[in-house]
């Protein structure tokens, strides 16, 4: 891949009516076409669903994309999804950027289609601006210490500790009182089975 030539693909998600009900996604897609280095724009009904992800992968191959912008929901929900999607298509996952046009746009400006659309365009432009400067990154891998700290020796902590220990993991169960048991140990019977609490 020639890093000298930027080839950005923009994917505008409708999220059914969640985005398209407020934001004019066609307008956002049209606008995205003229943003610098954008060579492909695709509108999806649900970008995160398999057909949507397949469209991303197909577009990366067809247009030889080296940056991907996905205008959809919060990266806190689907950044891992789309990172692995572009990785599957042979792109470094850090070359994907998201524009949050749902939580930060269509859902909070539901009464103003025009302003929401203008804002969505800005968010895409901002994401494209950032995407053009993104660089491939390598993640570091660390070994995991095979043990767990469970804080609190009530019914929740005891149960979690037992499950983990039965699975073969070392557990440290920390309780501030002199005995484990917590609040449940002070109950007589428990509903709905009316059996003993201890």
């Amino acid at each position: 891949m020639n890093e000298e030539t930027l080839r950005v693909g923009v994917f505008v998600c409708e999220c059914g009516h969640n985005i398209a009900g407020t934001v004019d996604t066609e307008e956002v897609a049209r606008y995205s076409e003229q943003l610098p280095d954008v060579v492909a724009v695709v509108q999806n009904r649900y970008t995160c669903a398999d057909p949507g992800q397949n469209e991303i992968k197909a577009a990366i191959a067809e247009h030889n994309l080296n940056r991907v912008v996905i205008a959809s929901c919060s990266p806190k929900i689907h950044e891992p999804t789309f990172r692995s999607c572009v990785e599957d298509a042979g792109l470094n996952p850090y070359l994907m950027e998201m524009a949050n046009i749902r939580e930060h746009c269509s859902w909070v400006h539901m009464q103003d289609r025009e302003a929401a659309t203008a804002k969505a365009k800005d968010l895409v432009a901002s994401a494209v601006g950032r995407a053009r400067l993104l660089e491939a990154q390598e993640e570091m891998t660390f070994p995991v210490t095979d043990s767990a700290l469970v804080i609190g020796g009530g019914v929740a902590g005891i149960q979690a500790a037992l499950e983990l220990a039965d699975g073969g993991h070392q557990v440290y169960l920390v309780e501030k009182e002199a005995s484990i048991g917590g609040t449940m140990a002070a109950l007589d019977k428990t509903f709905p089975t009316m059996d003993c609490s201890i």
Binding site: D122, Q137, V144, A148, D188
Partner: protein
Amino acid sequence: MMDAGRHPKIELLVDSEVENVTGFVGNYRAQVRKKAQYVNTDECTVCGECEKVCPVVVPDEYQEGLSSRKAIYMPFPQAVPSSYTLSAQDCLGFNPIACGKCKEVCDKQCIDYDVQDEIIDIEVGSVIVATGMEVYDPRENDEYGYTSFPNVITSMEFERLICAGGPTEGELVRPSDRKIPMRVGFVQCVGSRSASRGVPYCSNFCCMNTVKQTLLMSDHYPGSESIVYYMDIRAFGKGFEDLYRRSREEGVRYLRGLPGNVQEDPENHDLIVDVENTVTGRLEQHRLDMLVLAVGLVPRQFETNGNGKRPIDEILSLSHTSDGFVMEAHPKLKPVDAPTRGVYFAGTVEAPKDVKDTVTQAGAASGRASNLLSAGEVKIEAITAVVNTELCAQCKICAAVCPFNAIEAADKKANRFPDFIEAACAGCGTCAAECPFDAISMRHFEDQQITAQIDAVLAEDRMEKVVTFACNWCSYAGGDTAGTARLQYPPSVRLIRTMCSGRVDQSFIYHAFRKGAPMVLVSGCHFSDCHYINAVTWTQKRVEKVWTKMEKLGIRPERLQLEWISAAEGQKFARVMREVDAMLRDVTEEEVEETMRILDEEEAKRLGSAA
């Protein structure tokens, strides 16, 4: 309980508290203070000789203070570990001259007054927070006479009295005269579902707990009468409706309406309850032997500081939803995950819930932890600091501001540059923002990537935009919460995400103003929520510096706003966006152009002096 005590893979640390947790997913280090245990729990045979000779008598917490215990005691008969324990607070003192009776009679010699607290270091891959809850204290709003009338008790006290292991060996007696109460009232929602008294949420289990208690009454005392005062009976779980039906079939009366007034007959301590039956619309008066308050639960109030102790939620940087319970990474899709990777929740620390839901959630949390531990390795996001030794002047500021001690200071004399320990770098970017020589860059959050975003949002209609820097964990997520709740606010805000507000370099703020931003908002976590320990304190210092300089340059400092918004505060996010939008309307085109001119001059000066 027993299983947990003897499982070869579980190390039980009772009388212990977690004092600090450092590290990152898969590689946490915890410091646990194991408080001095004056009784050797391994050696104690529970013979009870020590208890017999102990002269100190104090209320027994386990029995809700309804009976007494000694200073050396068994927490309760089935305690795990099965051992006596000595309360340093209650003991007459560890001087054998003052007392020392227990030590004298202990055949196994397992009492030692000289043991000290111990700090234990533990390395773990994952942390499960199961710190539970507290029961609502009805003394707070003493509306049903709990503190004045002996026969008004809480549902927890009822549990102890009706329990065979309780102070009366399972005989429910009236505290006033030790007679069996044959007419018992139960008041629901004490401390729950009230905007003015206690907490606004439903405590989840109290309805069913009362249904259970009415059945215990009719089982133990045939012929007794129970009446339940409620606003709604929430019998929503599997098997719950059946139990509720059984209770009604047993003759328990359910009256829709909470008592308006409770008085006591001074002759015999009976209780006289006035209540409006909201189904019939009639006032009723009932004479009862006992009134049980179904108290709800509240988030655990951790002891804070004073003795240098930090609450566990602060140690683990946990955020809270508006009800005070810890916040999940996602309320539906990651309900047992903390926002911090590798940390999970189980039980009532997350929300009020009954035993079955607690056990279910504990299973889910351990499953999540097990996935991580079994994977053997974990990948860390490639968002770490990189130093450019050509620009570095070995000033050591980066090492001083790093919250994770991931930077070993430079040393000019030895011509040594700062050494980044990449594994310890959490990626907040504070060092990059604070470096006076621009010698540190953050992978994936480079200066030019962020300024490109500023340029893009200000390219058109700049007078309509509020350039907002939002940290990934709190403020950006607060915006997500506002979205999920469909809270509407003006469309002027343009969010630029950084991992931490500590990443927001002064130059980003000036860049935005120089490019014509009428308003800039910097927004991060509350100090106690900061995901990078204390990085947010540097954000504040930096913004204060910019305010001072803006004033000096003749730029209204009000055009730069600083707000702390947590991930749970969708309401606050929307309110702040409305407020900055209102401020935006006060900024004129002329003012913006004047600012641009001033900052262009400053930039020219800076470049001139640099050259």
